[in-house]
Structure formats: C-alpha cells, structure tokens
C-alpha cells in the first residue's frame, strides 16, 4: 500500500493530494452523480463573500485554444446563506471541505472568515486575493505585497484553522507575495489563479466577454503555473498547493515533482467529471511503479 496522505499543517490532513479548484466544482454536490466525492483529498467550494453577489453580466465565458476565459465575477449566495442553506448539505462529506473566501475590503474578508471559523466541519479556508473578475478587491489584494500581507494578517487574527492563501499569477514576482503571506501567518499557499486574458469576436468586433478581460484557465496555462509553483516552492517553507491546467495524471505528478504538496484540478472537471478519481489512481500507480512508499518521496523531487 502506498501512503497518499498529505499533511498541510494546522490540522489539515488530506487522504490524498487531489483537491478541486474553487469556481469549477460548485459545492461538490454538482459532481455527486459522476464520482464518489468522498474519495477526494479536498474540495474548495465556490468563492464566498460577505454579501450575496450576482456576478458579471452574460457572456461570461469564451473558449480559447486548450483553455477558456471566464468572467463569472464571484456570483455566490453570501456567507450567511452559505451557512444556513449550503453548509448543512455538505458538512458530512468525508473529505475536507474548504471555503474560498473573497471580499472587496479587508473588513469583508475578516468578517466572512470569522463567520466560517465557527463551522466545525470546515477545516480551512482558501483566501482568494487573486480573483481577476471583480472591480474592487479580489486581485488588487494579491498583486501588491503590502496589501497581501495586510489582508492575510487581519484574517489570521480571527481565523484559527488552516489558512491557505490563493496567489495571483498576474504579478512580476510571485515569490515575493508568497514570502509576504508566509510571514503574515498563512499555513499554506495555493497557486495559480487564472491569468488575465481577453478574446475578440472579429465579426461583431466586440469583446467575447461582457467585462472585456477575464481569467484564462485550462491546459494552455499549465507551463506558466508549473514554473510559478517550482519558483514558489523553492522560496518558502510552508506547503504549496499547485494548480493551473492540470488535466492528467502526468500533469499532476509534474506539479508534485516541482514542489507542490497537493494539487487542485479545476477546468478539466468540465470536460471529464471523473478526472479527479483517475488522477488519484494514477498517482498511486506511479508511486508503485517508482517503488515509493509515500507521496512525500516525490514532493519536490525534481532532479536538476
């Protein structure tokens, strides 16, 4: 038997390194017809804000070569409604349910995190300082070091469980932000969020997204994500959760070799709703083949 479990620190232990990325997996229940979601290492649910958000106008999505742009804009029911109506339905899943937390101001992040801190069956939050699709807040916090540090510190003061901070790739040096949030008390970092992009309909000469620009995801961003995960894992001492275009077993293993303790699968779930299970099984098979007893043996094992 191979030990696939991963300890991300501060009482967040995954049974295997495969989690699902926020904004691509709803609240987990959307996939329950396809797979046993209890087999996942963790599920990061839809970005949650202090108050309900309607998100951006349609169209919010444009297909691109080997990827897609989205401009959903954090449509969600708001934290109170999440606690009242959604939490009871997901709290008994036998996997780690993490809540992705976003906001327009530091106070909003703090208040949302404080409310989620009281939920027994949510072992951690993913602090979203990297959403490119909202006018205020979101990515603005994650693209400047002082504000990334400030929001992480403020949330750390009220949030006692596992604090994962989701980083933006839309920066000059992602390791500077990673070091900043590590110093501010983050238990782990996850990266990358989507890369800012755009697409144009040449017939109508309009942008394909209502917001003009949006966030690019899918296999087309994988090399960029992998590079950033490798740089970040070499720069900080807290665990790195890698994501960005992971669509296969070998993609996942690349991220782990580059230094990711765990990974998140996002956009690939849309095309293959069973991909997560295939990746879990495939990682196990790879470790057997390589004669490894635990996943830790290949974490950051890149040979240079």
């Amino acid at each position: 038997m191979v030990d696939l479990s991963v300890n991300l620190g501060n009482n967040l232990v995954l049974k295997n390194p495969v989690m699902t990325a926020s904004g691509t997996y709803g609240y987990g229940t959307e996939y329950a017809d396809f797979i046993d979601i209890n087999q996942l290492g963790g599920i990061v649910v839809k970005g949650t804000t202090l108050t309900k958000r309607e998100g951006n106008p349609y169209p919010r999505m444009a297909e691109t070569p080997k990827g897609m742009l989205n401009a959903v804009g954090l449509q969600n029911v708001g934290v109170d409604s999440f606690i009242e109506t959604i939490y009871p339905k997901i709290k008994d899943f036998n996997t780690n349910m993490l809540v992705n937390v976003s906001g327009s101001t530091v106070e909003e992040y703090v208040e949302t995190a404080r409310k989620i801190n009281s939920l027994d069956n949510i072992p951690g939050i993913e602090l979203n300082i990297s959403c490119p699709n909202v006018k205020e807040g979101g990515m603005a916090f994650g693209t400047s070091c002082p504000s990334a540090i400030a929001v992480t510190k403020a949330v750390r003061d009220v949030y006692k469980k596992h604090l994962m901070v989701k980083l933006s790739p839309n920066v000059t040096d992602i390791t500077e932000i990673a070091k900043g949030v590590e110093g501010a008390g983050a238990d782990s970092v996850s990266l990358i969020n989507t890369i800012m992009g755009m697409a144009i309909d040449i017939e109508s000469q309009n942008p394909k997204l209502s917001t003009i620009t949006g966030g690019l995801s899918g296999p087309c961003i994988k090399p960029v994500a992998l590079r950033m995960v490798w740089q970040t894992a070499n720069a900080i001492n807290i665990p790195v959760v890698g994501m960005g275009g992971i669509s296969s077993v070998s993609d996942a293993i690349e991220f782990i070799l580059a230094g990711a303790s765990a990974i998140e699968i996002g956009t690939a779930n849309f095309i293959d709703p069973e991909i997560t299970i295939k990746v879990i099984d495939g990682i196990e098979a790879y470790l057997c083949e390589k004669g490894c007893k635990s996943i830790g043996e290949i974490t950051g094992a890149l040979k240079i």
Binding site: G23, F34, G55, Y58, A62, V72, N269, F270, I271
Partner: protein, 256 residues
C-alpha cells in the same frame, strides 16, 4: 441522475449543406430523458475545440437504447461531430437541464422552432402524442433548403412554415404567419426553441395574449451541470444557470 456514457454512431444522415442527424447507440441502458434536455458531447481529435458541445436531444428510442442529435455545423467542434462515421465512438454527459413541461389538460399547444431550434421539438412532439395531445408545429427557416426532416414532424401533427425568401410556406419571419395574426389565438401554450430574437418576439406575443410560453435558451456553457456559473441568464430571481435552471424557462420568469 446524470450519466457519462459512450455511444457508437450507427447512422449519419446529411440533411443539407449544414445539418446532419447522428443516430447513436449506447451499450448501457439510457435513462429517461425529458424533451428539452440536452447532452454535453465531447469532441475528440479537434485541436481548437476544448469544451464539450451542448446539444439538445432530437429523438429517443428507449427500445434499442439509441438517440438522435441534430447537428448544425457552426465551428470546428460541430464540424468534427458532423463528420463522424458509422462505428465511431462519442462520449456524452446527459441528460442535463430542465426540459419542457407537459401542457395542462385543456391546453392546446403550438411548437415553434427556428433554425437548429427545431431539434428538441421533434422529441417534444412525440412525447405530446404519447400523452394524447396533438402537436402543431410552426417552423421558420431562411429558405426551403433549410427545412429539414419535415416528414417526421408531419407524422405527428400539422406543420406550418415560414421562409424568409418565400420559397416555401408564408414569406417572412415566424411572427408573420397567419396563425399568430388572429385576434384570439386557437392555442394557449407555446413551446419554442430558436434564435433569441424569435423567442423574444414570441414571449411578447404570449404575454400580450396571456398564454403560457416555454422558451429553450442556448447560452454559452462550459460545464453543463451547474458548476461553472458561466451560462447565466437574468431572471426575476437574479442570475440563473441555463444548464440547470433551464435550458427551458417560462418566458415570464426571464428578464428580457
């Protein structure tokens, strides 16, 4: 319950320059499908097609676990699907979304389709016939050569036609057909699928005459099952996903 099934292409019949009908057979038992529901079809070996393609179910035969898709060639993905051959494999996530709802006992129905929007209306027509309701169809197209599978629809009920160039039926758009010109309509529920503009006009018509109107939307989607929130449409209760709250909506519920 949603399923991921592999199907085998058993027939591919070209209808005209841009439409084909694929017949697909499944090794597994196909689940009950409501007319108006759709499938997310994976497109293999198409380098620029990343996402699955949402296509409405055109016809179902539960006896031999087969179904039909009416495919309009729009871009690379649908072109790839329209060129599949007998024996090729096709992977689908289905049945997805909320379909049309049955009319009340005393309701007379009119099924209005434009372009590729005729696809779900054949399956809906069959369903109505099975429930002892005779459907009437109003089908709009650019030209007579764009009218496809009319015999199938005629087997189920009366078929009225408009073409933009007047090459068949009444010249003009759907709304110009005499059946929609009378003071008092002789039907009290409209089922429609087709171009947005056509459905908006019908929705206004239905509101004016105080009759029910169910519209099937074709918004851009990524997942098809409520995870990505990309395909939203504005409704009286805020943004709703076309994939799980629709694709069929009561037109009164939409903010058009």
């Amino acid at each position: 319950m949603k399923y991921i099934h592999d199907f085998t292409v058993t027939d591919n019949i070209r209808q005209n320059h841009e439409f084909v009908v694929l017949t697909l057979k499944c090794d597994s038992t196909i689940p009950e499908i409501v007319p108006g529901q759709f499938a997310e079809v994976r497109v293999d070996n198409a380098s620029n097609t990343f996402l699955r393609r949402p296509l409405s179910i055109h016809d179902v035969n539960y006896n031999n676990n087969s179904l039909k898709l009416l495919i309009q060639e729009v871009g690379e993905g649908t072109k790839k699907l329209s060129n599949l051959n007998k024996g090729d494999s096709i992977n689908m996530v289905y049945p997805l979304g909320k379909g049309f709802t049955k009319p009340l006992n005393d309701q007379k129905s009119l099924l209005v389709g434009g372009g590729c929007g005729v696809a779900p209306l054949l399956f809906l027509g069959r369903y109505l016939v099975k429930n002892n309701i005779t459907p009437r169809f109003l089908i709009g197209a650019k030209s007579s050569k764009d009218l496809i599978r009319l015999d199938e629809y005629r087997d189920l009920g009366e078929v009225m036609i408009t073409t933009e160039d007047g090459s068949e039926g009444v010249k003009g758009f759907i709304i110009h057909h005499p059946v929609l010109k009378t003071e008092k309509p002789d039907f009290n529920i409209i089922y429609t699928c087709g171009p947005d503009g056509m459905m908006r006009v019908l929705s206004k018509y239905a509101a004016k005459h105080n009759i029910d109107c169910q519209v099937s939307l074709e918004n851009n989607m990524a997942c098809g099952f409520g995870a990505c929130l990309c395909c939203v449409t504005p409704t009286q209760q805020g943004h709703k996903c076309t994939c799980i709250d629709g694709p069929v909506f009561d037109s009164k519920y939409l903010k058009w």
